[in-house]
């Protein structure tokens, strides 16, 4: 193997610094005893304490979790079916419908869903957000599941069939356990995408249905006061996603890359 030159190392180190510095600053300022986000004054936990009493933020966190769980369950079921169908048969419409929402800028889907829900005279809120989240998460789950299926040894299923197992039994006994890591990874991914989503929620949210990202946006957009609280909630959110990622990387390391 050829040695990487020092120049490359230096450049790469700078880029890593570029990637991490901003987030480190957010975390540091979440412990900073000043509400200006400008200079270090002293260490404090008060923004976290404030956060625990901030009903609006906690309600937004609740919404985010509820939407995330429901999205995760429904999108995993539908996405697994889609991934399996795409692996098993040559389909035209389904792959297009599964992949397009991932490929186009999110704002397009947000706007289309907004018109759709308003046309149906549906009250925008948790339900409309959840329905929208499911729609864009299906694709991610489907891709992860399909790639897992593609890596699977088909001969195992054939062997089971030769030994007299029905297709359903073969699926339950062989295929499902084999692709389970993919499904779990897909589910976690759907959950993460949902709790992280801003753009589509922005267009499909209604009264009193703010999610955490929406709440963060409105506070960041209107920097009146309480900004360090945003640092605190951001830090907690990073911790949460970080732990989710650790779980994913344990369950199915390949899934981390499949989503990108």
């Amino acid at each position: 193997m050829k040695k990487v030159s020092n120049w490359v190392w230096a450049c790469a180190a700078l880029v890593y610094a570029f990637l991490y510095l901003p987030l480190i600053i957010v975390v540091l300022f979440s412990f900073n005893d000043s509400n200006l986000n400008a200079e270090w004054v002293g260490f404090t936990f008060k923004w976290y304490e404030m956060l625990l009493q901030d009903e609006v933020m906690i309600e937004a966190a609740m919404h985010t979790l509820i939407i995330g769980f429901i999205t995760c369950i429904v999108a995993t079921v539908l996405g697994t079916l889609a991934g399996f169908a795409m692996y098993k048969w040559r389909l035209r419409l389904l792959p297009a419908l599964v992949l397009t929402p991932i490929a186009i800028p999110e704002i397009l889907m947000g706007v289309a869903l907004l018109i759709f829900f308003v046309m149906l005279n549906m009250t925008l809120g948790l339900v409309s957000i959840t329905l929208s989240h499911i729609a864009f998460c299906i694709g991610f789950v489907a891709i992860v599941v399909r790639s897992r299926l593609q890596g699977m040894d088909e001969s195992l299923v054939e062997a089971a069939r030769d030994l007299g197992a029905s297709p359903i039994t073969a699926f339950r006994a062989i295929t499902l356990p084999l692709i389970m890591p993919g499904i779990i990874a897909g589910a976690l991914m759907a959950f993460t995408l949902s709790i992280d989503d801003f753009v589509i929620s922005f267009f499909t949210a209604g009264v009193g249905s703010n999610t955490l990202p929406l709440e963060i946006y409105s506070r960041v957009k209107v920097p009146m006061k309480l900004n360090p609280e945003v640092n605190a909630v951001s830090t907690l959110l990073m911790l949460l996603t970080l732990s989710l990622i650790l779980v994913v990387s344990k369950v199915a390391p390949s899934a981390l890359r499949a989503g990108d």
């Binding site: 009903e55 209604g206 009146m224 949460l240």
Partner: protein
Amino acid sequence: MKKLLLALSLLAGMAQAEDVLHVYNWNNYIAPETVKRFEKECKCRVVQDYYGAMEEMLAKLAAGAKGYDIVVPTGFAIPPLVKQNLTQPLDKAKVPNLKNVNAAFLNTEFDKGNIYSAPYSFTTTLVGYNDKKIKELGIDATSWAVIFDPKVLAKIKGKVTVLDDSRELFAAALMYNGYSANSTNPAEWKKAAETIKAAKPYWAAFNTQSYIKELTVGNIWVAHGYSNDMFQANQDTKAAKRPFGIGYGLQKQGNTLSLDSMVVLKNAPRPDLAHRFINFMLDGKNSSELTNMIGSGNPNAAAAQFVQPEIKKISAVFPDANSMKGLQQLKDLQGKQLRDLNRLWTEVKTAK
């Protein structure tokens, strides 16, 4: 994390047992103390959402936002709400305090007989400025030139914000050009749009929400905004012991006056709480708190005795008969006019 989750589950239990009133109001237009007292009195929780411009509120409601009980539109936004069948008539038996409102602010052309709306407070739209900087630079802030004239703006480039509000900004540009704030003459609108485009490169941002803070911190020296916000910014500079204050006054070419009223929405989940809230806010003492805390103009006659005399003296907050002459309320635009204005607005926002 555990603690947070615990708090979450506790709150989930609480939220269901509570009565909740949803208020959709201008940002920075109610004192938190007032909200707390109302919550105590009605044993309910007030959930607030905010907007920075009438267009934003109307667009949000047109885009299907449901679930608010009360909105606080400026006069010209009442007719569109009524015509879209979004409002419900006030049950006057439940708002006896409506009698407290100064007759001059009742029965406006926007809502004859106040069938739908109860006046909340009023503001003037004007220029607020960092008094030290403006004095140093020798700029005259009593003219709209301070936000529109490139010659003046050259000295304060990047230190100016204007309202992200098509009606207010166009009104200011129209008045700067010597036209009526309510002109619908396409040629005059065009001229106003040119004025805005010429001044735009000097502005730091279109800002309806955070100029109070930007002024207080000193990032911005001149802001187009509402009188109560400037009052607030000035209070904040004092509290933060800044070496400057925020000055504000009416412009010689004229200003807009916004009378903001409370309206109960047709599909309000809790019209009962909404009426209680309106009646509460029309109480002289409570209404005066609004003025004393946030510096808004007060249409409530019963509040007058509780309003701090220093605030009454500020002509931008309580315009005297003479300055009243220069003030105009914006009128409702319809159909094609509205579309044309929106197009011009898109154009100026997009222009370089």
